[in-house]
């Protein structure tokens, strides 16, 4: 493939007619946009962990609220899982900064037009709520301080509310850019990220779960979330194509998305859940369920990584970005 002098591949035209990329003039095939300088694995890893942590806080808090003392086991698991975002996710975010020593400047302002600013504050609030809950839980588990149980449960409520935020704001983070694939259908991306987060959170809670009924309930929640994701993916891809960004769905990472997100992360676990329910052997059923959980989490992580890579690719290809920025794609309603 011919290359630009800076090593970027010269873009090729769209392969299929339905992709309908820009056929008019480009400037020597040079990028019209600059792709986001995010490291897809680092930022994708954070988005995945934030989704998993936030959603497990949501699901476990719901379980505790509905089932009371009976749901305490899931509640406890949820409180520990919610530490993934602060302990692993937040360092990943700082790692991706190009001047990491200035990470604290994120707290200089609050800006409602910037999902990254909003996300910083939602994550900060989440760390507060989940932190109180997990410290109380540690007190219960390590020191046997039973009276801390109430505080653990009280901390879970704000963690669940902000957890809904950290598991979804990342879709707005990508959508509120000029990268065609991210910007083409912000709602579709929002539903995909949200459903994938719930699936990953619920799957993580089900991992190693001894109680069969709890495991089945969690697997049912994961299943519903996966089905939501499946439908949302179809709608998202359809809308992306309608905006003329279909060419980005023919990139290498779009194929990886198909295999790793839909195949490994959605279809395989759905099959495994059905198999797990039919297995009489309790141990084997548990093992199959755990395998499904791991596949769901891997798929959820790959959704984020592949979405970032497809978006970066769409931004660096002028035939995609110039097609996306045609007048027909302007929002119907214009603010006065």
């Amino acid at each position: 493939m011919p290359e630009h002098r800076d090593g970027r591949a010269v873009s090729k035209g769209a392969a299929s007619p339905e992709a309908a990329a820009w056929k008019g003039p480009t400037y020597y095939g040079r990028s019209q946009l600059k792709p986001s300088p995010f490291n897809a694995w680092v930022v994708g890893g954070y988005i995945f962990l934030a989704g998993l942590s936030g959603a497990s806080a949501v699901v476990s808090t719901v379980a505790e609220a509905v089932q009371g003392e009976r749901g305490a086991g899931i509640g406890r698991k949820g409180r520990y899982l919610s530490m993934l975002a602060p302990l692993v996710g937040a360092p990943l975010l700082i790692l991706d900064l190009h001047t990491p020593t200035r990470f604290y400047n994120m707290w200089r302002i609050v800006k409602r037009t910037s999902p990254m600013s909003l996300g910083t504050w939602i994550l900060t609030a989440f760390i507060g709520g989940a932190g109180v809950a997990v410290v109380a839980q540690l007190g219960v588990d390590l020191l046997g301080l039973k009276w801390l149980k109430r505080i653990a449960r009280l901390g879970s409520a704000p963690a669940a509310i902000t957890g809904a935020g950290i598991s979804t704001y990342t879709a707005a983070l990508l959508a509120a850019t000029s990268a065609p694939y991210w910007a083409a259908d912000e709602k579709g991306l929002g539903v995909r990220f949200a459903s994938s987060s719930i699936a990953a959170g619920s799957a993580a809670l089900a991992l190693g779960e001894k109680s069969r009924s709890t495991r089945r309930t969690l697997n049912a929640i994961t299943g519903i979330a996966l089905l939501t994701e499946l439908v949302a993916t179809a709608v998202h891809h359809k809308n992306v194509k309608a905006k003329g960004v279909g060419a980005s769905l023919e990139s290498e990472w779009a194929h990886i998305e198909e295999a790793a997100v839909l195949g490994l992360g959605v279809l395989l676990p759905l099959g495994l859940y059905v198999a797990s329910r039919r297995l009489g052997d309790r141990k084997r059923a548990g093992a199959v369920s755990d395998l499904a959980s791991l596949a769901v989490m891997a798929g959820s992580a790959m959704l984020r990584v592949s979405t970032i890579r497809i978006g970066q690719d769409s931004a660096s290809r002028p035939e995609v970005s110039l097609r996306f920025s045609q007048p027909e794609n302007l929002p119907k309603k214009r603010r006065a």
Partner: protein, 314 residues
């Protein structure tokens, strides 16, 4: 003929100056720079001769190194693109003759698409720069407040605040902002913020020998551009239009207007410009709403499932 287009220039007949001239922009650009007013660039591509004085003046004033020394093979453009170190970039668009097998798919290009005589010898040249958008997506996306609107209504990155998150790079609909890997900060045209504070017009506008780059108050520039378009239309260049003025291409999708705007004679894409960019921050609320309502729906489903789960522990 009057040598000095701007009256105050006559006050300084000498060629050597021992002091800084107060409000020098009045001499060189016919504009007084005062905080609180809106300033911008009007880049008239029909008079650009591709000399790259703007690129050089910008690099000289802002102490920016060269990006790469080499040949691109892309006409006379060996700069390539705007970058962290290149804040003015001259595009060279060589309009080819329409080929027999090429005409069906490609729309007619530029002023004359059938021969290369007379007008700009079949070349389009355009000095590209940061658009200093009214609703600047880079500024709206910046989580640290490093990007801000100055008292001259321009958009500037504060280097002592930027932490190099790179979000502005992906937000910009024009591919302008870039990170410098050496210092880990975002960089772009400042519309010579430091010069404006000192009463000097931006380096590129001052250096431009053909008045292709004009610096001034936005309302003045809009008037000048409208007059210029009318004039060109009257002379038969009916393809002339402004890009980035209110309600023109480039000022679409709630972008309102661009403080640095252009006069073009070909479709925007030929200049590597988006025909109808949109304002990214308008996508924040719908994305949040879609995500949060999905979480709410699935949480409700979870509540129903947990409530209906068997009470026996097994």
């Amino acid at each position: 003929m009057e040598i000095h287009p701007f009256a105050r220039a006559r006050d300084y007949p000498d060629s050597v100056f021992h002091d800084v001239i107060p409000n020098e922009s009045e001499l060189t650009g016919g504009v007084t720079i005062e905080p609180g007013k809106q300033y911008g660039f009007f880049t008239d591509t029909t008079v650009c001769i591709g000399c790259k004085s703007c690129e050089v003046a910008c690099k000289e004033w802002n102490n920016l190194p060269a990006d790469d020394i080499g040949l691109t093979g892309q006409s006379y453009d060996n700069t390539g693109a705007l970058s962290a170190n290149t804040w003015r970039h001259v595009n060279f668009i060589e309009k080819k003759q329409a080929l027999a097998d090429d005409t069906a798919e490609r729309p007619a290009r530029g002023v004359r698409d059938n021969d290369q005589n007379a007008f700009q010898s079949g070349w389009l040249m355009m000095s590209d720069v940061c658009k200093h958008c009214h609703h600047a997506p880079c500024m709206e996306s910046c989580p640290t407040g490093a990007l801000f609107k100055t008292e001259f209504d321009t958009v500037v990155v504060q280097q002592d605040i930027c932490n190099g998150c790179g979000y502005c790079v992906s937000a910009c609909p024009f591919g302008v902002v870039a990170l410098n890997p050496l210092d880990g900060k975002a960089h772009k045209c400042t519309l010579c913020y430091d010069r404006l504070k000192g009463g000097l017009e931006p380096a590129c506008a001052k250096a431009c020998p053909t008045e292709s780059i004009q610096f001034g108050e936005l309302s003045d520039l809009w008037e000048r551009a409208a007059t210029r378009v009318e004039d060109l239309h009257a002379r038969g260049v009916t393809s002339a239009y402004t890009y980035g003025t209110p309600d023109a291409p480039g000022a679409t999708g709630d972008m309102k207007y661009l403080n640095s705007f252009f006069l073009l004679t070909d479709r925007p894409e030929a200049y590597n410009l988006p025909a109808a960019p949109t304002r990214p921050s308008n996508r924040v609320a719908p994305a949040f709403a879609a995500g949060l309502s999905t979480i709410a729906g699935l949480a409700l489903a979870a509540a129903v499932l947990f409530a209906g789960a068997k009470t026996t522990r097994d």
